[in-house]
């Protein structure tokens, strides 16, 4: 059952990324191009995605998931250095070519050799991240 739900969720996510245009790097870069010919599509994608999810969060109160004991607890609201550094690194990579992790995976079948290269480099970055994060934490208190 857990696996069926994960499969359905992944499939709907992938279809949504394709339908919304988020696998098209030019649409993403167009959204980030605030000083040029700005493309607002991503605002509608984000807006459309946040509404059902806000309803789902409201529904979780006092309930349990279908499979499992509890819903994820709210994260520590404190903003630490790794959140900011991570956001800057991710944003820089996102702005360079217009791909983030979801669309990079969703476009694997039609993204060509460039898309595959991006995905492999992304996986390499993910493998290296724990080392980078330990370095970051060793600089001193991060809060």
């Amino acid at each position: 059952m857990r696996h069926l739900i994960a499969l359905i969720s992944g499939a709907l996510f992938g279809a949504g990324l394709l339908v919304s245009g988020m696998t098209n790097t030019q649409k993403v870069l167009g959204f980030l191009d605030f000083f040029g010919d700005w493309d607002p599509t991503l605002v509608f994608v984000m807006g459309g995605a946040i509404v059902p999810m806000a309803v789902a969060w409201a529904y979780t109160r006092g309930r349990k998931p279908l499979n499992g004991d509890s819903f994820p607890a709210p994260a520590d609201p404190r903003l630490d250095r790794s959140l900011i550094v991570g956001g800057v690194l991710f944003g820089a990579g996102w702005g360079l070519v217009g791909l983030c992790p979801g669309p990079a995976l969703a476009s694997l079948s039609f993204g060509g050799i460039g898309g595959l290269g991006f995905l492999l480099a992304m996986l390499a970055g993910m493998v290296l991240a724990p080392v980078a994060r330990r370095r970051l934490d060793s600089i001193g208190p991060s809060h």
Binding site: A6, L32, G86, V88, G93, L123
Partner: protein
Amino acid sequence: MNMDWIWGLVGGLMIGCAAAIYLLGNGRIMGASGIVGGMIDGSASKLMSERAAFLVGLIGMPAVLVATGVVGQTLLTGNVPLILCAGLLVGLGTRIGNGCTSGHGVCGISRLSPRGIVATCVYIGTGALVVALLRHGLGFA
């Protein structure tokens, strides 16, 4: 008139429903970088097969749609060093910052999570800065 915003809205609703199904069904946050990253850096010894099932759907469904005639475009740049550099930064950044557009953006903002909201502002701001530099500052598209 450009109707892309309608497709954006429909696709966005699908993405939100996918995240809602994952949350209400399995009690988990639908974050693409977390689901993949946890599998490859060994931090997710549990739930490996559940994550794998999610990825089969995420990669497989667009493949099926494109095979049946839906247009799939990436329009990714042909600049290989730029692609590899971007991929490395995205992989590093999403794991160091604990999330990407789906986890922080969709799941975090919808919960009014301060971390999700701040992370989203930071990566959109940085991305916009990079695009401004590439397209308008340094003069190549």
